[in-house]
């Protein structure tokens, strides 16, 4: 099933699913009324879906790659923040602490 494959690749298949359901409705009505035009319409929609599914799949691959890059960036930033906090946090913390208590006076 071309739509399932496109979805597995991360593609947005909602439009394809809508079109498939329209085809199923046409097929059902065409069979009930024995209407050849409706049956042909259903077949044409299915062919459209099969033709467009790889495009949706390719879009999904690109989006998935972008998400992976984004996630590695997030992991990199978090790791860098960890190193920065590890190295500089005590200095920054105590500097801020001293600055905030600057006005205090020691009572003997």
């Amino acid at each position: 099933m071309a739509v399932a494959k496109a979805e597995r690749l991360g593609g947005d298949v909602s439009g394809l699913v809508d079109e498939l359901n329209q085809a199923l409705t046409l097929l059902e009505e065409g069979e009930t009324r024995n209407d050849e035009a409706m049956l042909q319409g259903a077949l044409s929609k299915v062919e459209d879906v099969v033709a467009n599914a790889p495009v949706a799949g390719q879009g999904g691959v690109a989006a998935m790659q972008a998400r992976k890059v984004q996630s590695w960036l997030v992991i990199g930033v978090v790791a860098a923040l960890g190193v920065i906090v590890w190295r500089y946090e005590p200095r920054i913390f105590w500097r801020l602490w001293v600055r905030s208590k600057r006005g205090w006076k020691v009572k003997a």
Binding site: V3, S14, L20, R67, S71, V74, I75, V78, G82
Partner: protein
């Protein structure tokens, strides 16, 4: 005193780093596996003529049309192509979650559903032959890519019907 301060600093650092690692791991897992489904399942339901649970037909006349609503829900974590097969059996015909009812298909309805979506549609049916304790069964089948055909999905609903001949004037 300086040494004591240093120990506290290292403990604070360790806690901060642990928090950062946990947050990073969670963010990473959510990015890599955003739509992980723990327990996939599908839903099948039959609603009455008012699209509510109840008021199901019980006594019918031959060829008298009656309307029910089919409900199908997809929580399988992927797009699914479902078929609902309607079959008419009797007290002796059996059905289970493993085996569908072994009688001819009375009506068939298909739908393709994205994960997390559901579908409700009216269906109008009628029974051609009089009989007592008819078992009107709705079975959920799903398209299986491996076998390239629909496979019984183990979900079914049934209604008991008595169908009588129309009164002769």
């Amino acid at each position: 005193m300086e040494g004591e301060g240093l120990i506290v600093d290292e403990q604070v650092m360790a806690v901060l780093l642990a928090v950062l690692v946990v947050v990073g791991a969670f963010a990473g897992s959510q990015t890599f596996f955003p739509d992980r489904i723990v327990e996939p399942f599908s839903e099948l339901g039959i609603l009455g003529p008012e699209a509510k649970i109840g008021d199901y037909p019980r006594e019918l006349i031959v060829r008298e049309p009656f309307t029910l609503y089919l409900y199908v829900g997809n929580h399988e974590g992927r797009v699914m192509y479902y078929a609902v097969l309607v079959k008419l059996g009797n007290r002796t015909t059996s059905i289970s979650n493993e085996e569908p009812m072994d009688v001819p298909v009375f009506a068939r309805y298909g739908v393709v559903l994205l994960d997390g979506k559901n579908w409700t549609r009216p269906v109008t049916l009628s029974v051609e032959e009089p009989g007592v304790n008819y078992k009107l069964v709705f079975e959920l089948w799903a398209y299986n890519e491996g076998v390239r055909d629909f496979v019984y999905h183990g979900r079914w609903c049934q209604l008991w019907l008595n169908v009588t001949k129309p009164a002769v004037p």
